[in-house]
C-alpha cells in the first residue's frame, strides 16, 4: 500500500510552491509549521485553506495569527460546507485588519467554546444560517484590534503618533507615506503590546467598506477544481485501515449471525468488528471492506422496532394532534372569532421525513491510543463531538483532538456526532488508525431525518375576506428537546414553531400550539431550513387558500395584510414585479408566491410552473427577492439562493423517506431522487440593499420554495396540494 500521507503531501505542496516561487510567479512567501514540527517550510497559499496547524507570532485574539513572514491566518470558527463562509468570514476580518482577501489563509478552529462560540445559537456550531450574523461584530473587532496594534508597533518604532499612520494591504505607512513596514516585520513588536478589550475598538462606518459588500472570489475554489481539497473522507494516515460498516437496518436491532470466516477469506480484509448495533469490516481498502461485508452475509435481530411503519406514525400524529399542545402564541381570542366569522376555512397539512443525502457520505477516521484520541472528520459541531468522544473513551476532553475538515455537504447532518460515535466504538477494537466509511445505502437508511409533521389549521374570514381568526396546531418530533433541552420551556420547541408562531401578516386573533410526538424507531434531526421548511410551506399555502376563499389575487391579498410590515411587503412586491405577476400564461401554467421572515431575513419567491396532462410538473422559473440586511458577498448570496432553492425544490418534488417493518424503504439516488441538471429551473436573485442588521441566507430559499411551487400548481390546475412531496398522480388532467 502506498504510504503517501497528509504530511508528505504538505511537504510536496510546499516543494511545489517553492519551485513556483523561485520561478517568480509572485506567490506570497509564506511560513507554515507542519504538525508539531518546528521546521519551517515555504507554504505559499496555492491553497488558502490550510489543513495543518499554523502558529503565529502575533496572536492578539482567537482569530488572528500573523508571523514574521507576513502570512496572515484566520483561525475560522465556522466550518465550510459550501455556504461560502470561509470567504465571507475572511472578508469580515480582512476589511478591518486592512489586508487583501488573498493574503488571508484560513485554518479550521479547534473545539473551544470560549473562543469560538456561535453567539446566535450558543454553541460552536455551524448552523441556523447564523455564521455571518454571529461573527459580523466579533471578526471585525478582531481585525480592527489587530490593525491598531500593528499600527501602534510601527508608530513606536518611528516615534510618531499612531493616529498619523495608516494601514493598507498588510503594510503600515507613516503620514508622508515614505516610511512603511509590513505586518510581518511588525508581528514580533506588535505581539509585545497590551491588547485592549475588543468592545472599545472603533469599527469602520459601513460607507467606508472596501471589501464587505463586494463580489470577492471564494477562497476555497482553487483546491476544489483539481482534486486537492481534502474532506474528512480523504484522510490518510500511516498504517490506517479502512472500514465499511453495516448498521442494523432497524433502530435498536442487533447482528444475529456474521460469517466471519467467509469475510476474512476476502483478500485485503483484516478484521471483523461486531458491536451488535453494527458490524464493521476492517480492510486495506474500501473495495475489500465492502466485499467482506457481502461475504459476511449478516442477519439481524430486529428488536422492538421491527414493526414500525409510516402508516402507524401518521396515525399516531393524527390522534395526538387532536389534543392541545404547548402554546407558542395566543393573541386575542381566536376561538371566539372563528365561531363568529363570516366564512371558515380548515385544512390539514403533512410533510414527510427527509434525508440529507449530502454528496460526501458519512465517514470518520479515529486513532484511539491509551492517552489520546484523534478524530479526523468534517463536523458542524466540534465541541459536542469532542465531549461525546471524551465520554465514550473516558479520556479528558483535551486529550480528544478534533481535526476538522471541509464538508462535502452538511445540510445539518454533520451537526450530529453519531457517525463519530460509531467510528470510535469500532476503533476501540482496532489497533491503529481506522477510517470508517458509510455506503450511500447506509447513509440514507441511517440518517437522522427531518421530522414528519402534521398540521391542523383553521381560519375565519370576515365579510371582506380578511382573516379575523387563525389557529395552527403543529404535531411532530422535537429535535430541540433532544439536542438543546434547555431551549425547550414548558414543552414548547421554538424551532418547531418558527415562522408559524409569528407569520408576517396582520392576524388579530391567533393561536398556535405544538404537540410533541416522537415516532418510534426513527431518529430525527436538523435539516437545512429546520422548522421554517415545514412551517412556511404550511402557512404560505394556507394564506393562499384564504386568498382563494376571499376571491382575491394571492399577491394583492398578502399585500393587504402586510401594511405594518414594510420589509416583507418590499420583498413581496419586488418578487412579484420581477416575475411579471399578473401577465397572461398558457393553460396549465401558473405562478405562485410565498413570503417569509426567518433566520433574520425577509424573502419572497415566485415560482412559475407547467403541469402536463399526465400530472408531471415542470418548474420553469423561480424569482427570489431577498432582504438580508447588510450583506458581505452578493455572489455568495446568489449562489445560496440558487442552491438553497434547489435543495428545497428537490424535497418538494421528490423527497420522502418512508418506513416499513422498521426499515427505511429508500436506499440510494434511484429511490431518494436528487434533482439533476436537466430538471432544474433558472433561479433569479434580486437583492435588496439596506443598512439593517445582517440576516441569514443559507436556509431561507430552501424554506420558502415549496409553497411558491404548490401555490403555482394551484393556479395552474385548481388542485390544492396539502402534503409533500408533490403527488403528480393527483394532477392529471381530467379532460
Amino acid at each position: 500500500m502506498d504510504e503517501l500521507i497528509l504530511r508528505e503531501q504538505i511537504v510536496d505542496e510546499a516543494a511545489m510552491s517553492r519551485r513556483a516561487f523561485l520561478q517568480g510567479t509572485g506567490l506570497l512567501l509564506g511560513f507554515a509549521l507542519t504538525g508539531a514540527s518546528t521546521e519551517s517550510v515555504f507554504a505559499a497559499p496555492a491553497s488558502q485553506v490550510v489543513e495543518n496547524e499554523v502558529t503565529g507570532t502575533f496572536a492578539p485574539n482567537g482569530f488572528i495569527r500573523i508571523n514574521p513572514t507576513g502570512a496572515v491566518t484566520l483561525v475560522i470558527p465556522m466550518i465550510e460546507m459550501g455556504q461560502g463562509v470561509y470567504t465571507s468570514l475572511s472578508m469580515l476580518l480582512a476589511e478591518e485588519l486592512e489586508v487583501k482577501l488573498d493574503q488571508v489563509q484560513v485554518q479550521h478552529a479547534p473545539p473551544n467554546h470560549a473562543l469560538y462560540v456561535n453567539s446566535i445559537i450558543g454553541i460552536q456550531n455551524t448552523g441556523g444560517s447564523a455564521s455571518v450574523r454571529a461573527f459580523w461584530t466579533p471578526l471585525r473587532q478582531a481585525g480592527a484590534m489587530g490593525r491598531n496594534l500593528l499600527i501602534a508597533a510601527a508608530a513606536k518604532r518611528w516615534n510618531v503618533d499612531p493616529a498619523t499612520c495608516r494601514a493598507k494591504d498588510g503594510v503600515v505607512f507613516d503620514a508622508s507615506g515614505s516610511k512603511h513596514l509590513s505586518y510581518g516585520e511588525l508581528a514580533s513588536a506588535a505581539a509585545k503590546l497590551p491588547v485592549p478589550p475588543a468592545a472599545i475598538v472603533k469599527l469602520k462606518d459601513p460607507k467606508d467598506f472596501t471589501l464587505i459588500g463586494t463580489r470577492a472570489k471564494r477562497v476555497d475554489s482553487a483546491i476544489k477544481v483539481d482534486g486537492r481539497a481534502l474532506y474528512g473522507i480523504d484522510t490518510r494516515l500511516p498504517g490506517m485501515k479502512v472500514a465499511a460498516v453495516a448498521i442494523s437496518p432497524v433502530l435498536g436491532g442487533k447482528a444475529k449471525t456474521v460469517d466471519e470466516k467467509a469475510a476474512l477469506a476476502v483478500k485485503g480484509v483484516r478484521q471483523v468488528v461486531n458491536i451488535d448495533e453494527a458490524v464493521a469490516m476492517v480492510a486495506d481498502h474500501m473495495g475489500a471492506a465492502k466485499k467482506g461485508l457481502e461475504a459476511a452475509a449478516i442477519t439481524w435481530d430486529d428488536g422492538p422496532n421491527g414493526k414500525v411503519s409510516n402508516a402507524d406514525i401518521v396515525k399516531q400524529l393524527e390522534e395526538e394532534s387532536k389534543k392541545p399542545g404547548a402554546v407558542a402564541r395566543n393573541v386575542g381570542d381566536a376561538g371566539k372569532s372563528l365561531a363568529e366569522a363570516a366564512q371558515r376555512v380548515d385544512a390539514v397539512y403533512q410533510v414527510p421525513f427527509l434525508a440529507h443525502a449530502a454528496m460526501e457520505p458519512m465517514n470518520c477516521t479515529v486513532h484511539l491510543q491509551k492517552d489520546r484520541c484523534d478524530i479526523w472528520v468534517g463536523t458542524q459541531a466540534p465541541t459536542i463531538t469532542q465531549s461525546l468522544v471524551a465520554e465514550l473513551t473516558g479520556l479528558p476532553k483535551d486529550a480528544v483532538k478534533i481535526h476538522n475538515h471541509l464538508i462535502g455537504g452538511g445540510f445539518g447532518r454533520r451537526l450530529e456526532a453519531d457517525g463519530t460515535v460509531l467510528a470510535v466504538k469500532i476503533a476501540k477494537h482496532v489497533d491503529g488508525p481506522v477510517k470508517v466509511i458509510w455506503s450511500r445505502e447506509e447513509d440514507i437508511q441511517h440518517d437522522m431525518y427531518r421530522p414528519y409533521y402534521l398540521d391542523r389549521l383553521s381560519a375565519g374570514l370576515d365579510a371582506a375576506g380578511k382573516p379575523v381568526a387563525w389557529t395552527h396546531r403543529i404535531a411532530g418530533s422535537s429535535v430541540m428537546a433532544r439536542y438543546y433541552p434547555p431551549y425547550v420551556k414548558d414543552g414548547l420547541d421554538p424551532d418547531a414553531v418558527e415562522a408559524a408562531a409569528e407569520p408576517p401578516y396582520a392576524l388579530p386573533n391567533i393561536h398556535v400550539d405544538f404537540v410533541r410526538v416522537e415516532p418510534p424507531g426513527v431518529r430525527t434531526s436538523w435539516w437545512r431550513g429546520v422548522g421554517p421548511t415545514h412551517n412556511v410551506f404550511v402557512v404560505e399555502s394556507f394564506i393562499d387558500e384564504l386568498a382563494h376563499a376571499a376571491k382575491q389575487d394571492p399577491v394583492a391579498y398578502r399585500k393587504g395584510l402586510l401594511g405594518h410590515n414594510p420589509r416583507a411587503l418590499a420583498v413581496l412586491s419586488l418578487a412579484a414585479e420581477k416575475a411579471g405577476w399578473g401577465s397572461p400564461l398558457p393553460v396549465r401554467h401558473g405562478r405562485g408566491i410565498s413570503v417569509q421572515f426567518a433566520y433574520g431575513s425577509y424573502t419572497s419567491q415566485v415560482a412559475e410552473v407547467e403541469v402536463a396532462a399526465d400530472g408531471s410538473v415542470k418548474v420553469k422559473r423561480i424569482v427570489c427577492a431577498i432582504d438580508c440586511g447588510m450583506y458581505v458577498n452578493p455572489d455568495t448570496i446568489e449562489a445560496q439562493v440558487q442552491g438553497g432553492t434547489l435543495f428545497g425544490l428537490t424535497a418538494a418534488l421528490h423527497g420522502s423517506i418512508t418506513f416499513k417493518d422498521g426499515r427505511v424503504e429508500q436506499n440510494n439516488f434511484d429511490s431518494y431522487l436528487p434533482m439533476r441538471i436537466d430538471e432544474v429551473p433558472v433561479v433569479e436573485t434580486h437583492l435588496i440593499k439596506n443598512a439593517e442588521a445582517p440576516g441569514g441566507v443559507g436556509e431561507a430559499p430552501t424554506a420558502i420554495v415549496s409553497a411558491a411551487v404548490t401555490n403555482a400548481i394551484f393556479a395552474a390546475t385548481g388542485k390544492r396540494l396539502r402534503s409533500l412531496p408533490i403527488d403528480t398522480n393527483s394532477l392529471k388532467s381530467s379532460s
Binding site: S221, H285, M359, G408
Partner: protein, 151 residues
C-alpha cells in the same frame, strides 16, 4: 492479482482482486483522493474518470477491466485543453460550493467538450445529468461549460 495501471501517464503496480472497483484502487491504494465516492452504484457521477478519453464511473469499473487503457483523473485533467478551460471557467464563474461533486462534474464536462466543442443545452443535459450536485450548482455548471466552450 497484480495489475499495472496507466494513470495520468504513469504506470502504477497494484495487487488487489480483479473485481475491486477502480475508485478504491485510486483512492485507498494509490492515495489519489481527488476522485470521489458518492453512491457506489454509478448513480451520481462523483467518481467519474476517463478511460481512454471516455468518461466512466470508477465505482462500477472493476480494475481487471481497465487493462492497458489510459486512465485520467481530476488530478491531471488540467493538462488537457478542455480540462484547463473548464477549471478556469469554474473559477471565473464561482461554480463550487461544497465542491465534493465537482471533480466528477469537471471530468464529465471535459469529456463532453472533447467530443462536442460547442455543446447545446441539450448536449449539456445529456452529458451532465448523470452527475448529482446536492448544493445545487447546476445553473453555474451549465454557464461555466458554455463559458469554457465559448458558446
Amino acid at each position: 492479482m497484480a495489475f499495472t495501471l496507466k494513470i495520468n501517464g504513469t504506470p502504477h503496480e497494484v495487487d488487489v482482486d480483479g473485481d475491486i472497483p477502480l475508485l478504491w484502487v485510486l483512492r485507498d491504494v494509490l492515495g489519489m483522493t481527488g476522485t470521489k465516492f458518492g453512491c457506489g452504484q454509478a448513480l451520481c457521477g462523483a467518481c467519474t474518470v476517463h478511460v481512454d478519453g471516455q468518461p466512466v464511473r470508477s465505482c462500477q469499473t472493476p480494475v481487471d477491466s481497465v487493462g492497458d487503457s489510459a486512465v485520467t483523473t481530476i488530478e491531471a485533467i488540467g493538462q488537457a485543453p478542455q480540462g484547463a478551460a473548464l477549471q478556469k471557467a469554474w473559477l471565473e464563474l464561482e461554480v463550487v460550493q461544497c465542491g465534493y461533486c465537482q471533480s466528477g462534474q469537471i471530468m464529465s464536462a471535459a469529456a463532453l467538450l472533447k467530443d462536442t466543442p460547442k455543446p447545446t443545452d441539450n448536449d449539456i443535459d445529456a452529458a451532465m445529468s448523470g452527475n448529482v450536485c446536492r448544493c445545487g450548482t447546476y445553473q453555474r455548471i451549465r454557464a461555466a461549460i458554455k463559458h469554457a466552450a465559448g458558446v
